[in-house]
């Protein structure tokens, strides 16, 4: 069942020590209002699963700057130098994962699979500690599912059933993360009446979503 809640209440659902997936790609499609308030409130020891750690100055980056995290699992941290700084200083654990592997690990958890075989990372340091399996003389890494306590998403519009529609490149990791967390909270720009979203237009079915927060994004911080 989907509940519409205010921003403050959404942020209070996230507890110290939780594993949190955050949708978005270098800020695009990230639930910025939730992230900003979360960083301001000063949550602690989160494990973050996200494509990246944002751009210094944007909402996601503040979680790193405010030292809310214990661990980061991401494909890229180059757009937020603070992450690399804390990592090299031994203050933050960072696990770098190929982007295609990361999204597939999340999908695997959401889809009830035990893992998958990917050629990505073979003969690189990514293969360390992983089982290698050969199929038809080609080597693959066995990658395992990745789930979370919370998924924080951003969508363009929603209906009271929790159905989500994303816009353009803001979709990225959001629909996959919606499937792989115990509790799914979506920041949406607008909530339209039931029946206004055509069934074929839905990108995340409402059954995946637990809480909707109506809040406009503040916009994208440009990198570089």
């Amino acid at each position: 069942m989907v509940e519409q809640i205010p921003l403050e209440e959404a942020v209070n659902i996230i507890e110290d020590g939780m594993t949190v997936m955050v949708g978005g790609f270098i800020g695009s499609g990230a639930p910025d209002q939730i992230l900003e308030l979360l960083a301001r409130r000063g949550v602690k020891d989160l494990t973050l699963i996200a494509n990246d750690t944002g751009i210094l100055g944007d909402a996601l980056s503040q979680l790193i700057v405010n030292r809310c995290l214990r661990k980061v699992i991401a494909s890229h941290i180059g757009t937020n130098p603070e992450t690399g700084k804390q990592m090299l200083a031994g203050e933050l654990e960072v696990q770098l994962v190929p982007q295609g592997t990361l999204v597939e690990q999340i999908r695997s958890a959401g889809a009830g699979l035990g893992g998958f075989l990917t050629p990505t990372g073979v003969a690189t340091i990514v293969e360390e500690g992983k089982q290698k399996i050969s199929i038809d003389a080609k080597e693959y890494l066995l990658e395992l599912p990745l789930s979370a306590d919370i998924a924080l998403l951003r969508a363009y519009k929603a209906d009271p059933a929790g159905n989500l529609v994303y816009r353009r490149a803001a979709r990225n990791f959001n629909p996959v993360m919606a499937t792989a967390a115990k509790t799914v909270i979506a920041q949406v720009e607008t909530i339209v009446p039931l029946g206004e979203i055509d069934p074929d237009e839905v990108m995340t079915p409402g059954i995946f979503v637990h809480y909707l927060v109506e809040a406009k994004p503040k916009g994208v911080v440009q990198h570089g």
Binding site: I55, M87, L96, P98, G100, V126, Y166, R171, V220, G224
Partner: protein, 213 residues
């Protein structure tokens, strides 16, 4: 040619590798400039790994769409016939062999086609992003880079010393000095930039450059 002219040559040379309809993913930085250097009459489809096909030019000021940035986080546009999708489908496209070519920069590349372009241990660790999937999945992997490092040391090596992005996946190396193809025999020099001699390019290259027809 001066340095800027040689870089221009490089970009135009890479741009000649495509035919109309090719699906191409261009890495951040110099590779992305290839899109503006395509020969007349050639139209390619650019894939952006954050989730769309039909990547267009940068928007005019005031026309930016906050929901439409490219994989480098820059405002972008989408051409008619383009499509948006999630990261799972984006990497189905990339890893599944549906990208005809990817153009990436490199820290090091070697005569076996190994590529290192994502980290320098203890120093620069931005992460691999989508590069490892692209290099494994794209049908052709083209490295586009300056021939040597800023301090003049070779980047085209017998064997990469930095952590690999992928093993034996590079097909073509295009630099400001020439074009080298990775073959089972080693690196075959296919072309030299105007004014570059074989002696000059071999001297700037650790790997042995082969000259065959």
């Amino acid at each position: 040619m001066d340095k800027a002219e040689r870089m221009e040559w490089l970009i135009h040379r890479v741009a000649r590798e495509f035919k109309t309809g090719d699906v191409v993913n261009l890495g951040i930085g110099m590779p992305v400039k290839v899109a503006n250097a395509l020969p007349d009459g050639i139209t390619i489809i650019l894939q952006s790994e954050n989730g769309f096909l039909g990547l267009g030019p940068s928007p005019q000021e005031g026309q930016e769409d906050p929901d439409l940035v490219n994989a480098g986080g820059k405002y972008s546009t989408i051409l008619p016939g383009g499509s948006c999708f999630d990261s799972a489908l984006s990497f189905t496209i990339i890893r599944g062999g549906h990208v005809d070519a990817t153009v990436l920069g490199a820290l090091q590349v070697d005569e076996e086609g190994n590529l290192a372009n994502w980290m320098i241990p203890g120093k620069m660790v931005p992460g691999m992003g989508g590069a490892m999937d692209l290099v494994v999945g794209a049908r052709r992997v083209i490295v586009a880079m300056e021939h040597t490092a800023k301090n003049g040391t070779p980047k085209v090596l017998k064997k990469c010393s930095l952590p690999l992005t992928a093993a034996r996946q590079v097909n073509l190396v295009v630099t400001d000095m020439g074009v080298m193809e990775v073959t089972p025999q080693g690196l075959v020099l296919r072309e030299m930039a105007p004014g570059v001699t074989f002696e000059a390019i071999q001297a700037a290259t650790e790997a042995k450059l082969l000259l065959v027809d």
